[in-house]
C-alpha cells in the first residue's frame, strides 16, 4: 500500500491517498471549496491515471463542501464510470448529506458509513 498526503497548510486542508491494488481511499480533511477543490481534483486525476478503478472518498474529516467541490466529485465519478469503475462516499457529515439531498446527487452516489 502506498500513502501520499498533499495539503494547503494555510487553510488546514489536506488530501491523503492510500492506494491498494486498484482501490484507492482518498481522505479529505478541512473545507472543500473553490480554493481547495483544485488540490482534490489533482489528486483524483493522479489516482485515476495510475489505474484505480474504485475510489472511496472518505469525508469523515471534511467540514464543508460547496458546488465547486461537488463538481470535482462528479467529474471523478463520470471518469470512473466510463471505465466501469465506481466512486463511493464514506462518512459524509450531516451538512454534506443535506447538500447531496438538495442537489439530487444522493440518488447517483453510493454512501457508506
Amino acid at each position: 500500500m502506498r500513502v501520499d498526503e498533499s495539503s494547503i497548510p494555510t487553510v488546514d486542508f489536506a488530501v491523503t491517498t492510500e492506494v491498494d491494488n486498484r482501490t484507492c481511499i482518498v481522505s479529505v480533511q478541512g473545507e472543500l471549496d473553490v480554493y481547495t477543490a483544485p488540490l482534490l481534483r489533482e489528486r483524483l486525476h493522479e489516482v485515476l491515471a495510475q489505474g484505480a478503478s474504485k475510489v472511496v472518498l472518505d469525508l469523515h474529516g471534511m467540514t464543508f463542501i460547496d458546488s465547486t467541490g461537488l463538481g470535482v466529485v462528479i467529474g471523478a465519478l463520470k471518469r470512473l464510470r466510463e471505465s466501469d469503475g465506481d466512486l463511493v462516499l464514506r462518512a459524509p457529515s450531516r451538512s454534506t448529506r443535506k447538500v447531496l439531498d438538495i442537489t439530487g446527487l444522493r440518488e447517483i452516489l453510493e454512501i457508506i458509513d
Binding site: 471549496d33 458546488s67 470535482v72 467529474g75 451538512s95
Partner: protein, 152 residues
Amino acid sequence: MSAGVGPEANGASADEDHIRLTVPARPEYVRLARLTASSLAARLGFTYDEIEDLRLAVDELCFLLVGPGQGRDGIVSLTFSTPHDHDLVGGPALVIVGEGPVGPQRPHPDSHPQELGELRELILTALADEYTVSRTSDTVQFRMVTRRRSRT
C-alpha cells in the same frame, strides 16, 4: 483586505449595524466571507444548522464574484447588515450585499459550467430566504437575506 464596523466606520444607518469586508477577488478569500457571516449569525442566535446553511449560501454567491481558478482582477466588496427592527425583515436576519468584477468565461475542468450553475441554483434556492443576482457590463452584484428560523 480591509474591514470596518458601522456606523462610525462607514456612516451606516443607526437602524442597523454594517460590517464591510473588502478583499481581492480571489478564491482564497471566500473563506473570510463564510467566517464573517457565521460569526454574525451566531451573534443573532442562529442555530448550528442555520449557520451551516448560511455559510454555504454565502459561499455560492461569492463564487459568482471571484470565479474559479486564480480569481479575477479587482476587489470584492461585501456588506453584512443586521437590521435592528426585525419587523422590517421578518425577524432576526442577516442581509449580505456583495459586488465584484465580471470575469472571463472559462471552461470548467470537471463539469459543464451549466451543470455547476444548476447545482448552485438548487443550493441557493433551498438555503437562502431571498437572493438576487444582477450583472452590469463590468460588475456582478448579489443581495441575500437569511432569517433566523429558530426562537431563543
